[in-house]
Amino acid sequence: MLARPKLGLCHDYWFAADPMISIKALAGALAFIAHRLAQALLVMLAILIIAFAVRSALGDPLREIVGEAVPEVERETLRHKLGLDRPWPVQLASYLSGAVHGDLGTSLIYKRPTLQVILAKFPASFELVLGASLIVLLLSLPIGIYCAVRPRAIGARLILGLSVLGISVPVFLTGIFLITIFSVWLGWLPAFGRGQTVQLGFWETSLLTLDGLKHLVLPALTLSSIMLPLFIRLVRGAMLDELGHDYVRTARAKGARPLRVWLRHALRNALIPLVSVGGLQVGTLVAYTLLTETVFQWPGMGFLFLEAVTRSDIPLITTYLVAVGFLFVFVNTLVDIASLMLDPRISLEGTR
């Protein structure tokens, strides 16, 4: 799952004019996607087994159900009744079959199914990441392109210098500084929580009220601050690589305007490595989101996880691990398939 996908299996056919060979290319792409999906399922299985192991090692499932106050004799009968004295492969099988049906245990703190508890917090984390990603995308693309096409300009050098600073400042300190300045000293923006939210079915959003949006500004800025310098450097590096290619010179020579060459020609190719590197950053993004949520007491999944850790809610902790693992596998699979689609050398429809 983790090595770069071998796109070669389609490469050989990209120049094909014969429709039969285009069908072969399509079949190749489908086989690749099927292969990646199978891998993803295997990794999910491994994550579930690890979660089961952690749960068996650290937690007592009986406590989830009856609490501490039941005498030992009664515990034994209950244990037998619930099948907790059966050999571990049997228990693992029942854990896995539960997982397939969406049952990963009951939270000790909330007394509700853990998956339900965690999914309820998902919109908060998602909107935070969405806000930060928008900031990163809107800023890193133009700035990165500028630094690549004008590498010797003072502005470009200044930006690169500042990006070292940006990479060096831990995300939680950015948050603390922003709170100190904009909440405590200036009093412009709220420092914690999501503010007023609106319920859209199961999705609790803070994007539809002014108060909610105000609450989102500082956390999203904080989270973007750590990704921004990284992405500016990535965009710049990928663009520099592309601008050195012959096709850029050809495009310029035939009279295409610079902006068109940069955006239509170079950027499109530069995006391919960007997407795959972006996919590898999921784990880091989850960690940074957790830190940001802690600073701003943002009621998301990371904040919930730390609460579960402090109060030793083992089922909730393992469910969080499964959820993060799922996210990781999901995004990486998606990224691999997306790079297949983005690569202009591969034509899935058989038309070039």
Binding site: L165, L173, I176, G283, V286, A287, F305
Partner: protein, 306 residues
Amino acid sequence: MKGEAAPYAARGVLGFAIENSGACLAAILLGAIALAAALAPLIAPYNPFDLSSLDVLDAELPPWWREGSDPRFLLGTDAQGRDLLSAILYGTRISLTVGVLAVAIQAAIGVPLGLLAGYRGGGIDSLVTRFADIQLSLSTLMMAIIALALFRAGLGGDALSHYAVPLLVVVIGLAEWPYFARTARASTQVEATKDYVRAGRALGGSSFGIVWRHILPNILSPLIVVATTQVAGAVMAEAALSFLGLGMPVTKPSLGTLIRSGYDLIFAGAWWVTVIPGLVLIVLLVSVNVLGDALRDALDPRLKGR
């Protein structure tokens, strides 16, 4: 590489210093911070671990430039009346210790694996590379958070604070060995084709002897560059973990713990308790990163500005 170093030698030390003023400033700052941290027991005005010396009446005093400060506490005090200057000196000491030890573990795992993979090639090489790729894609910080969170949830907060230093060192150390392995592997592959290695082999030297005594000394410079940036990463990871309450306990605070414990006081107006250790941490990290970048540029000028 020699050819690149020559112009500096001609212009002398001063010319070099002017050319790399940023790196020199970073080196001086880093040296000062490291020295202050090393000498903390000698130069700190108070012992921040001695809880009996604390007086709640001294709590939340501001630093010297603000009204209501106390000349006994240059940078003010925290919520328990602990001298902030002393706490920062000792905290930097702990942060740097954890960072350097963690990087030592990374190097101890990564360098031998990289040498082995680079020199032997074949199946061992692809195995090491595969493991390195997997490890890197898992994100250090997330793995460290999960490991320490499980330890804390399983054995309780007291056990965590008791074993905090070795745990942090091992967790951060285990997570990032691939950076050393990759660099060692790539450099070894280049060195292994050179004449001195072939000569060594022709003279009947053992593989171990050739790798250890001839190749390793020749690939030290890129490894030192990796070590520099890795120290910054390790210090940052430690600070993040301590900030989350998964690292150093309040009784033995690192810079991250100080930032965490002072955080609530921002809203009470005592921002310095968290902002000053934060600034120290940033200066430390920026110095290490700038120095690492400068070292890399000096060793491989082609990479300049990347």
